[in-house]
């Protein structure tokens, strides 16, 4: 089973790097991007199994970014991260079913399992 490819997009570099390292430790291939634009470019230019994007990036809202990615690469699993409560984020995401919501701080292990399980199912 080939490891799943993951893209993490967050303007807080330490947070992104930290999460990336843990996910790598859990067996994923991880890339990081620190701006919304860079993240969207990377995601649309490559094939990622999952994209984890922060809801509030300085140049682009996480919701818009993920929707853009889904237009080009509809099979990508999209996770929206936020420090606010899930209810708050859902309000902003407008109940878009295609996006899954993660509230910080979340358990990387749990995320890893969600991603692997789906990948396994899809293949």
């Amino acid at each position: 089973m080939s490891p799943s490819k993951l893209l993490i997009v967050d303007d807080d570099r330490d947070f992104a790097d930290g999460l990336a390292e843990v996910m790598e430790m859990l067996g994923h291939l991880v890339d990081v991007a620190f701006t919304g634009r860079a993240g969207v470019e990377a995601a649309t230019g490559n094939d990622y199994d999952a994209v984890v994007m922060d809801v509030g990036l300085p140049d682009l809202s996480g919701v818009d970014g993920l929707l853009e990615i889904l237009e080009i690469k509809p099979e990508t699993r999209c996770f929206l991260m936020s420090g606010y409560s899930a209810a708050h984020v859902e309000e902003r995401a407008g109940g878009l079913g295609a996006l899954e919501i993660l509230t910080k701080p979340f358990d990387p292990e749990a995320l890893s399992q969600r991603i692997s399980a789906a990948a396994h199912r899809d293949r």
Partner: protein, 498 residues
């Protein structure tokens, strides 16, 4: 003999009639008419006297004709009766005239008292047949002039203000046609050019056939009343505006009060939470130090992870400090300070990133202001840090400036103007979006990651406590300018800085 007696009686009666006639002069005041009548009667009696004289003195045998004399006597009696009876008639007429005169005088006085003019319009002759003094006065002319100018309806209309003439004609014609009275307010334009508001009432007078032959009525000058009404309206309007303004002032004050209370409550909560967080953070920090130590010793290659952890523990600490700072209110320690010199030193100490050019434009002409140096220093440093951060984060992540080609400029300027000293910090970063401009001063409003969003709220608080203020202007892609100002009230003289 009898005839002579009758003759004598006639003479007496005629003389009596003459006397009574003369009395009528006094009653009626016409002396000529009654003198003639009296003279006629005297002459008639004189003729009789001569006849009597002839009989008595000249020839006793000549006796007058009895029947003729009796007829003459009857005539004399009738004359006396006539003159006697006419007297009271004239007297009554005179009294009536006097009464009428009094009555008119009273009416005139009454209408003058009430400011009412009285007029009578002769419909048949189409002219004014009577005009009271007050009516003429209201029209700005004398009575004679008024009557002269009202010798037809159209002429009378000339007294009316041009804008009201159509309505004036209409109402008058309607009243005439319907045989009703009228009650109208309109404007007069006196020959002197003065505009007056009047209230006119009119009533028709009918002849036996039921057609209108006359109109009579009153006119009252209500200019003063109208003016007073307009004044009241104006005052009302002004009052309403004032009430509105005061109400919104009140609302604003209420809002400010609520906001302050909220801030105070927030402050307390934040302080408590921040304080509580210090302990666990402390435990993490110390434990981490041990971990870091052992990892480095064992060369486990965990540098990146260790670095991240350390940095972010410190970040937490800073955040907690900032929060606690915001909630605490230190007592101000104001000192007179020469602004330019102090600011210049401050900027020298600051570490500005290399890619940013610092322009110092200190133009406060050596003015000194009294303020807490530590607090205002924090405010200025906060602004400088914000500016520097704004010129690192660009929309597309590269450092080529904001598109205007000027590179990254940080300008710090001071100025003395309008009774205040201003310190301005301007950057050439991406600017603050208009929607956010109102929110940036709210505590915990944050658009950049890694910050509490308290910075500007703290700066505002510092300026408020100095009775100064803070103004932010920003233009998208051009940059942001934040101006701090302090009142230059006290201490504008050159003071030796400590």
């Amino acid at each position: 003999m009898l005839a002579t007696g009758v003759l004598a009686a006639s003479i007496v009666l005629q003389l009596t009639a003459a006397g009574l006639a003369l009395r009528l002069v006094r009653v009626t005041g016409w002396w000529l008419a009654w003198v003639f009548v009296s003279a006629a009667l005297v002459l008639m009696s004189l003729r009789r006297c001569i006849a009597l004289y002839r009989v008595l003195v000249e020839d006793r045998s000549l006796s007058p004709d009895l029947s003729a004399e009796i007829v003459a006597l009857c005539i004399s009696v009738l004359m006396v009766a006539g003159v006697a009876l006419i007297g009271p008639l004239f007297a009554r007429a005179k009294k009536n005239e006097r009464d009428l005169h009094h009555s008119e005088e009273r009416l005139r006085q009454a209408t003058e008292l009430a400011g009412l003019g009285y007029w009578v319009w002769d419909v048949v002759a189409d002219k004014c047949s009577h005009c009271s003094e007050e009516n003429a006065r209201i029209h700005g002319v004398s009575v004679d002039e008024y009557l002269a100018r009202s010798s037809s309806f159209e002429e009378d209309v000339a007294f009316t203000h041009p804008d009201d003439r159509d309505e004036y004609r209409r109402i008058n014609q309607e009243a005439l046609a319907m045989g009703t009275g009228f009650d109208m307010e309109y404007r007069l334009l006196t020959p002197a050019g003065e505009t007056r508001h009047v209230h006119e009432l009119g009533k028709p007078v009918f002849d036996d056939a039921g057609s209108v032959i006359q109109f009579y009525g009153t006119v009252q000058d209500i200019t003063e009343r109208r003016r007073a009404e307009e004044e009241i309206q104006k005052l009302n309007f002004v009052l309403e505006r004032r009430v509105e303004a005061r109400t919104s002032e009140l609302h604003a004050t209420q809002d400010a009060l609520v906001r302050n209370e909220r801030l105070a409550a927030l402050g307390q909560l934040t302080g408590a939470v921040a304080h509580e967080l210090r302990n666990p953070l402390g435990a993490i920090a110390t434990s981490f130090d041990v971990i870091q130590n052992k990892c480095e010793a064992a060369k486990l290659g965990l540098d990146r992870a260790l670095g991240r952890a350390k940095r972010n523990i410190e970040r937490c600490d800073d955040l907690i400090s900032e929060l606690l700072d915001f909630t605490r209110t230190k007592i101000l320690q104001p000192e007179p300070t020469v602004v330019d010199a102090w600011l210049s030193d401050l900027l020298d100490e600051q570490q500005i990133p290399d890619h940013i050019t610092l322009n110092a434009d200190l133009d406060a002409e050596g003015a000194a202001v009294v303020f807490d140096r530590e607090q205002v220093r924090r405010a200025v440093i906060n602004l400088v840090d914000n500016a520097c951060q704004a010129m690192v984060i660009d929309g597309d992540g590269d450092n080529t400036g904001n598109g205007s080609g000027n590179g990254k400029q940080l300008t710090v300027a001071t100025r003395r103007t309008n009774g205040r000293i201003e310190i301005e910090v301007a950057d050439t970063g991406p600017g603050i979006p208009e929607d956010d401009l109102t929110k940036v001063l709210e505590p915990l409003f944050n658009t950049k990651s890694g910050g509490t969003g308290l910075g500007l709220a703290i700066v505002q608080r510092i300026m408020d406590r100095h009775s100064g203020g803070l103004e932010i202007t920003s233009e998208k892609h051009r940059g942001t300018r934040v101006r701090l100002w302090l009142p230059a009230g006290h201490g504008l003289e050159e003071a030796t800085p400590r």
